[in-house]
Symmetry: C2
Subunit: 196 residues, 2 copies
């Protein structure tokens, strides 16, 4: 059996999302085999990120500066504010590369079951931002789940009359086949059909 | 979008087996959120393992000492030598906790297609160990794959007449249902049936 440090490494790796005990063991053996190429650089950059990573004070994005690159960029001051549940959703929007405005990360969704109320998310801060920044439109890019849509409705209620509100369109995903789509998506796509 | 250190961390994490770009991003966000509990300890122990991890000079197990705990233990000097393909197989045998002898890690299997010959594995070293150590039995615990079984046959040829040889039994896995087993396994189990 392996040694204490190696066991400790396996235990910690197994706590990452997407890795279990078996894949953690595989990953650790891989790391030890690729010591110079992977293990040492990974340890170094983790050390670095542990020191520097922080949430943007403005939008909640994760970066290494007090105000993130997006919030700091003059080019992104379009007046459009895209509200997302999580930093991973912000990154997904950025990968699509089609939104030129700024973001607001809620940090989750409202959930009566889990006892998550508006004050547990950054909804009060969103209302403040809409009042104090020059926001022309708030785009609700929440996940198309029950909790996501409940949260979107709540935010829409809070901001009604103060700013233009919109949400992402629902419909057939690009490349999607009707046969593989659920009834809800087909129904949403039919209701929102576009005239040619 | 995230910063340079964070991007570098995502890129490195995505090179681990079992993680792709998406799960690497999820893992990194998780790490940043659990900085004190997970990210810092993980960075520290990786740093440590990068320095101390090494292969046992005797058997090829991975540990932090020149000779691994198993090889160094007087209690394990039973004369039984268990031959496995990989360190992960050695660890799997140890988890089962039923083998009290020592191991020999081959470092792979013979493969004509990939150009892996006996000298690329630790087969010559295995022949040496059988000649020089007080080995009473060599147990071939190779995977039940074509390459694993080819390698087992080759080793059996090399060691024939010098030592008692055995291999793991093939049959129905514990908890296994016949309906879900392949024909090869059922056939092996039938051929190796035990009289009650």
């Amino acid at each position: 059996m392996s040694d204490n440090d190696i066991d400790a490494l396996i235990d910690l790796m197994a706590r990452l999302p997407g890795l279990g005990p078996r894949s953690a063991r595989r990953a650790v053996l891989h790391l030890i085999r690729k010591r110079a190429l992977l293990l040492t650089p990974l340890a170094d950059v983790m050390q670095q990120v542990a020191i520097t990573a922080r949430e943007c004070l403005n939008c909640g994005n994760v970066g290494t500066t007090e105000i993130c690159d997006i919030c700091a960029s003059e080019k992104r001051a379009t007046g459009e504010l895209c509200v997302v549940e999580d930093v991973s959703d912000l990154w997904a929007m950025e990968r699509a590369g089609v939104f030129a405005g700024r973001y607001h990360v809620l940090g989750g969704t409202l959930s009566a079951l889990d006892g998550v109320g508006p004050e547990d998310l950054s909804i009060p801060r969103l209302v403040d931002r809409v009042a104090s920044e020059a926001i022309s439109e708030v785009i609700l890019a929440l996940n198309a789940t029950v909790d996501g849509q409940t949260t979107a409705h709540y935010i829409a209620d809070q901001l009604e009359g103060q700013v233009k509100l919109s949400s992402l369109a629902q419909g057939v995903p690009v490349g999607g086949e009707l046969d593989y789509l659920d009834e809800g998506t087909i129904s949403a796509a039919l209701n929102a059909r576009k005239q040619l």
